[in-house]
């Protein structure tokens, strides 16, 4: 874990009042940047990560030595072109890649905070990350962007700070977490909390971890990120390194082996308590309710240009939920673009090499950057 030393972070000194009522201060927020901030400081893009992401959107994550989670989209010449834009990405509070979270060691006890960590919300995450603008002395971001939970943060950011981003790209997300999504998250949490090693969240993180529970949570969630067609085409009923069924409970099918593998590699890089806290934050997200049942009011003060994207095979954050955001924006005459990208890759499409999706973002950003900065508007 010495690679954690390579993580950049700011310490947020002033108190942050959380939605749960508690207050936190002097806490770390880990971040990474890509590209260069120009002299006018008008080319910054703040990217928000999804449930299991972190600040390492591109390049190689120095802690896991794996590729950044949005490597297809962020980098030189890519959709978020780091030759043009200065990309900032922070680890959300509650996360486990250097930001203040349940895995942070409490200096008083020398143990992880665990479930003594306060329950946080998407609103809290966004308010913490807002401090990055001060840190980089950026008056106004060119764009805020993110998929899934990252998209929820985009929506919350624009509603909290109406004139701090010229462009907003919420991708494959929702303004109000659905019952189905709460149900899937609860399934994952129950898997973790049923693991004997969870110990009411007070595992020490070194000798014992609720790895089995966390792996099952990841396996279940992973299914929801893919489409039925995608799974069928990739795995079908193919058998795993065997020519016949073995009449047992070993992984006979490739899909079983694949899910087991996904679960096992996930526990190496993710903290079970973080999984509980972040899924809870997603479940609590209801921007419509925050504005008295009228989502339009969340964006009433904003002049931000919105570009909303959904995917045909995403059944976790399906098109109608994304379209509700479009409808709310149109109701107040906001500047909004929307397209549903055709793909079989399910909710995960936003993380994958989907050329239509990536090229549309790339072109939209470069044209819009010229429009808003060099021409009038």
């Amino acid at each position: 874990m010495s690679n954690f030393d390579k993580i950049k972070s700011i310490t947020i000194k002033q108190p942050l009042k959380l939605d749960c009522g508690k207050e936190i201060s002097n806490f770390p927020l880990a971040y990474e940047t890509y590209g260069n901030l120009n002299e006018k400081k008008d080319n910054a893009i703040l990217i928000f990560h999804a449930l299991t992401g972190d600040q390492f959107a591109s390049g190689v994550n120095p802690v896991t030595n794996k590729e950044g989670w949005w490597n297809y989209a962020v980098g030189p010449g890519k959709a978020f072109d780091t030759e043009k834009f200065f990309v900032i990405c922070a680890n959300v509070i509650g996360g486990c890649m250097g930001s203040y979270g349940p895995g942070t060691v409490d200096p008083k006890t020398n143990k992880p905070i665990g479930t003594n960590f306060p329950v946080i919300t998407i609103n809290d995450m966004v308010n913490a990350q807002y401090n990055l603008l001060d840190h980089f002395k950026i008056e106004k971001l060119f764009a805020v962007a993110g998929g899934s939970m990252g998209g929820m943060q985009v929506l919350q950011f624009v509603s909290n700070f109406p004139n701090k981003a010229k462009v907003a790209l919420p991708i494959a997300c929702t303004a109000s977490h659905s019952a189905q999504n709460i149900a899937f998250n609860e399934l994952g949490r129950q898997a973790i909390m049923s693991d004997i090693n969870w110990k009411d969240g007070l595992y020490d993180g070194e000798t014992s971890n609720p790895d089995k529970g966390l792996a099952v949570a990841r396996m279940a969630a992973h299914i929801t990120y893919l489409s039925k067609k995608g799974l069928q085409e990739k795995f079908g009923r193919n058998l795993q390194e065997r020519s016949d069924l073995k009449f047992g409970f070993d992984a006979d099918f490739q899909i079983e082996s694949y899910l087991r593998y996904q679960g096992s590699v996930f526990v190496d890089r993710f903290d079970a308590n973080s999984y509980l806290y972040i899924t809870r934050a997603m479940d609590y997200f209801d921007l419509t309710k925050q504005y008295g049942g009228n989502l339009s009011k969340a964006f009433k003060e904003s002049k931000t240009k919105f570009f909303i994207i959904s995917f045909t095979s995403d059944w976790l954050y399906p098109t109608p939920e994304n379209k509700d955001i479009v409808i709310a924006l149109n109701a107040i005459g906001a500047d909004v673009g929307f397209v549903e990208i055709k793909t079989d890759k399910g909710h995960d499409s936003f993380l994958l090499d989907v050329p239509d999706f990536l090229s549309t973002i790339k072109n939209y950003l470069s044209t819009t950057y010229l429009n808003v900065n060099e021409r009038r508007i």
């Binding site: 479009v326 409808i327 149109n330 109701a331 005459g333 397209v339 990208i341 055709k342 044209t367």
Partner: protein, 198 residues
């Protein structure tokens, strides 16, 4: 058809909010943005075309006008444009109703099925006409509800829709259509451009 866009552009006041329904590749939207100070939005059904528009930075929403106009509040645009698309809807009548609800003024252009070449084709060949503006065969045409300038004129009168201006377009030539020259213009116009209000 650049000439049509010029005529439409002239009908639109500066500093107005415009919605282009069935905006296609966004050529008209770009033309308006370049030539006028307007805030222009688009609605388009084809994913490919929407992606093209967004790539050019245009505020276009993917959607079907027959269902998705509902999301726009009453009188939320100064002008709503429907360029050569009316004939492709399942229910043109309902679409026009919605356009008049959303826009303070509505600009509708229709390929004129009453043009003499079309009439001659049908009269002498006895086949469904195929022209520059209507290039499809009867079995693959997206145009479900073809009409003539006269038909649309009658429709507006019957429905109590105010026609402010009607313009005929024939090749590069534009001219005014009035009640007295309507029969003649219906014979020689390739395109009819209507400025309407509820």
């Amino acid at each position: 058809m650049k000439e049509e866009f010029k005529v439409i552009s002239k009908l639109i006041d500066e500093k107005s909010r415009v919605l282009d329904v069935g905006c296609g590749d966004g050529i008209l939207m770009e033309y308006l943005s370049k030539n006028k100070v307007v805030d222009v939005r688009g609605l388009e059904i084809s994913k490919e075309k929407v992606k093209k528009c967004l790539s050019n930075g245009l505020a276009v929403v993917e959607g079907n006008a027959e269902y998705d106009l509902k999301q726009f509040p009453d009188l939320s645009f100064d002008y709503v444009i429907l360029s050569q698309t009316l004939q492709a809807f399942m229910s043109p009548e309902n679409v026009i109703k919605d356009l008049l609800r959303v826009g303070k003024k509505v600009i509708v252009t229709i390929p004129n099925f009453g043009h003499w070449k079309i009439r001659v084709d049908l009269l002498f060949k006895g086949e469904m006409p195929i022209t520059k503006n209507l290039p499809y065969e009867w079995y693959n045409t997206p145009n479900l509800h073809m009409c003539t300038i006269q038909d649309f004129y009658n429709f507006c009168n019957n429905k109590g829709i105010n026609i402010f201006k009607t313009i005929s377009l024939n090749g590069q030539k534009t001219s005014k259509i009035t009640p007295s020259n309507l029969k003649y213009k219906n014979l020689i116009s390739e395109l009819g451009i209507f400025l309407l209000e509820k």
